[in-house]
Amino acid sequence: MSLLTPIVGRNPRATLLRISFTIGLAVVVFGWILVPLRLSGISMLPTYEDGALNFANRAAYWTHEPVRGDVVAIRLAGPHAFYVKRIVGMPGERVEIVTGTVTVNGEVLIEPTVVRRAAWNMAPVDLAPGEFFVVGDNRSMKIENHDLGRVSRRRIVGKLLF
């Protein structure tokens, strides 16, 4: 028995293959399927705390399109920065905010995840095909200080895993 046996096992070739497979799997999973991200900022409070770790699950939208209520990662110029927001408006709908209440096609949207709500007002926005309306859960600040609005489908990277 060689000194290296405890490290490489009795069959070094098989060990090397196992290591290569594990590395390859990690690259595929964390490179293309589950994109790791650390949340920064307060716009998704109280659902997500500042600094929380999460993953954008690209596979979530392989079989179906995003739906209302999904918390999604939105790509900026590349893979090193994302916005994390909740979808409130679907393609073809009309979204409006009246004194802090979101309405979709004239009907009030029930949002149990929104705890803090300032009296925001936003004129009606008509969403084109392939456009979603996204907003954070924390609505306690002035609307000018919150990033919300229409986003095209191609920018939505994936759904947050948990």
């Binding site: 920064s40 900022g41 900026l76 090193h80 920065a81 927001k85 986003v151």
Partner: protein, 179 residues
């Protein structure tokens, strides 16, 4: 036996040439286009000159402004894009190097300093290689500890080659979310 050794030598020589070619190709790819590299270096200089360390003094501020002056074109046009209209339709709100420097000079950074970095840079040079566009994300972090990211914005930064140097001619924010 001798024949086998010669064959091995040839195989080794071919492998060595192949490895050398691989190294050269990798090196060339890493170095990339010299103009692109120069522009990325300018971007790093800009990020450094806009970042403010904790307890920054007057001397540091002046030094950073001097660096910034060297990377801005005299006729630079900056849009803030703080408008519900698409950024492309918004006329530039700041025109001229002195106006930009005056604004940066007046800016009071948050306590604990601020760090600005440009990530995901995509450089596009025009056919004449006299102008270029950089599409990137500006990440802004603040705070003394882990420096969490407080904001991130997409930008298109236009560069012009003036007297052999790549200088910033325009800055325009891109709308990630459109109201």
């Amino acid at each position: 036996m001798i024949r086998l050794r010669r064959t091995s030598q040839r195989a080794y020589a071919a492998s060595a040439r192949l490895a050398l070619a691989g190294v050269l190709v990798t090196f060339a790819a890493a170095c990339g286009d010299s103009d692109e590299r120069a522009i990325k270096n300018q971007m790093s200089a800009i990020a450094e000159s806009l970042s403010v360390p904790e307890n920054d003094g007057e001397l540091g501020r002046i030094a950073r402004l001097a660096v910034l002056r060297n990377v801005l074109a005299p006729g630079i046009a900056v849009s803030t894009g703080a408008s519900p209209r698409p950024a492309a339709e918004v006329p530039p709100e700041l025109v001229g190097r002195d106006a930009v420097l005056a604004l940066v000079g007046r800016w009071v950074p948050p306590a604990g300093g601020v760090t600005i970095e440009f990530v995901d840079m995509q450089v596009t040079l025009d056919a004449t290689r006299a102008t270029a566009q950089v599409y990137c994300t500006a990440r802004i972090s603040s705070g003394p500890d882990e420096r969490p990211v407080v904001d991130a914005r997409e930008l298109t930064i236009g560069f012009s080659r003036i007297d052999g140097s790549w200088l910033i001619a325009s800055v325009r924010p891109e709308d990630t979310l459109v109201r």
